[in-house]
């Protein structure tokens, strides 16, 4: 029953998709600081879709896992995704622009932009995406632990969320959605 419902939903989704994307979440403009230390305004994306997720560079598992998956999605999507940037919004004050730049430079397959900002700016963006984070002292020698939303957001040309990818999402699905965005 569930399977057939899911199948039906898939069929319906397949029929309806190519023309108009349903917006899952209207986000609105936001302002942060990019990995070169310059002010970043979301309007600068100017009609380009984008991927966005929250994280921090000391994140040992979830963030590199998401990053490798996104890298696979870019390889899969090929030239169609060339103009889609990935915005990595750090919620950790330790991540200064130079740290972010070095961190993201390592993931060569991803056209990534690291974003940070004041706590107020970061909190505002987190809220706009319906995300959460919490910086805790867990007694780790690596410093505070940062719990955070690890969903991957696909934004359309208006900067609104049209797809949400959970951590178990498949790189191929992400690639497909990027091509259709």
């Amino acid at each position: 029953m569930r399977i057939s419902l899911a199948f039906l939903a898939l069929l319906l989704a397949a029929c309806g998709q190519p023309t108009q994307h349903e917006k899952l979440m209207r986000v609105g403009d936001f302002q942060l600081v990019d990995h070169d230390g310059r002010v970043f305004h979301s309007t600068s994306l100017q009609g380009r879709p984008a991927l966005l997720f929250f994280g921090y560079t000391h994140c040992p598992d979830a963030c590199p896992t998401t990053m490798s998956k996104v890298a696979r999605a870019y390889r899969e999507a090929g030239s169609a995704a060339r103009d889609i940037p990935t915005l990595f919004v750090s919620v950790d004050p330790r991540d200064t622009p130079p740290v972010l730049k070095q961190y993201l430079g390592y993931f060569r397959a991803v056209p990534a932009k690291g974003l940070t900002g004041s706590k107020a700016q970061i909190d505002a963006v987190v809220r706009q995406f319906g995300a959460r984070y919490e910086i805790r002292d867990s007694g780790s020698a690596a410093g505070p632990v940062v719990d955070h939303t690890i969903r991957l957001f696909l934004l359309d040309r208006d900067g609104d969320v049209i797809r949400l990818f959970e951590p178990d999402a498949d790189a191929k699905d992400i690639a497909k959605a990027m091509k259709g965005a």
Partner: protein, 234 residues
């Protein structure tokens, strides 16, 4: 118990027609011995808990109460253990030739070196990002004993500190916790993998050289080392 064996036997007989199992192990499985004695003949079959007598660990010949020779074991299979002293029923319908093959298989098992009580497999370290001084390591911990054990400490010459971390994801939110132990269930394994638990290597040696040796201490006093290859996730 008997019903279970009978069902297993029936199934085995029904399936076995025409395919003619050959080896002692094939016969051991085909006649349903594993129902009580376990797939590895260690006495831990799915039906073991239903028997009032604990099924024999057949890999330990010195613990047999009956005969230990091949003809002796073949005879035990045919006649069972008399007077219900144990739960071992008689299987007079198994041809002598096949009973001998099963007995020879059990002798072969007994001659094998025992499996290590604890083992570490599939160890790897995710290539560290040059911007940060941490890296996650993943291993599979195997417990071949019937008692629970736990990993309680990890160290490496290539990291100042190694911690055990558990990550959980609920409602799209990832939470991570430093833990003091990672339990490995009896006759089971704990798989540390992306998205679950990991070992966090902190303050890495630079350059970090592959393989990274990890020394793991368990709460039963066992110390194991693993050579973890450095690689990317995919």
């Amino acid at each position: 118990m008997r019903a279970l064996i009978a069902i297993a036997l029936l199934a085995a007989v029904a399936c076995g027609r025409g395919s003619e199992p050959k080896t002692g192990r094939d016969l051991y499985l085909a006649y349903g011995c594993a129902a009580c004695h376990g797939e590895n003949a260690d006495g831990l079959g799915p039906g073991a808990g239903l028997s009032y007598t604990k099924p024999r660990d057949l890999t330990k010949l010195d613990q047999y109460r009956g005969p230990k020779t091949v003809p002796g074991i073949a005879s035990t299979i045919a006649f069972g253990v008399a007077d219900g002293r144990t739960g071992m029923p008689a299987y007079p319908d198994i041809p002598q030739r096949e009973r001998v093959a099963i007995a020879e298989y059990l002798h072969e098992l007994a001659a094998r070196p025992p499996r290590p009580k604890l083992a570490v497999a599939a160890a790897w370290v995710r290539t560290p990002n040059p911007a940060v001084d941490v890296a996650a390591a993943f291993v599979t911990l195997e417990n071949n004993t019937s008692a629970p054990v736990a990993l309680v400490a990890v160290s490496s010459r290539q990291a100042k500190v190694v911690e055990m971390h558990e990550t959980k994801t609920a409602d799209g939110m990832m939470t991570m916790q430093k833990v003091e132990r990672i339990a490995v269930p009896p006759h089971g394994a704990a798989r540390l993998a992306p998205g679950g638990s990991h070992l966090m290597l902190i303050e890495l040696a630079r350059p970090l050289l592959s393989p990274v040796e990890l020394t793991m201490r368990f709460d039963d006093g066992t110390v194991l080392t693993a050579q973890a290859e450095i690689r990317d996730a995919d």
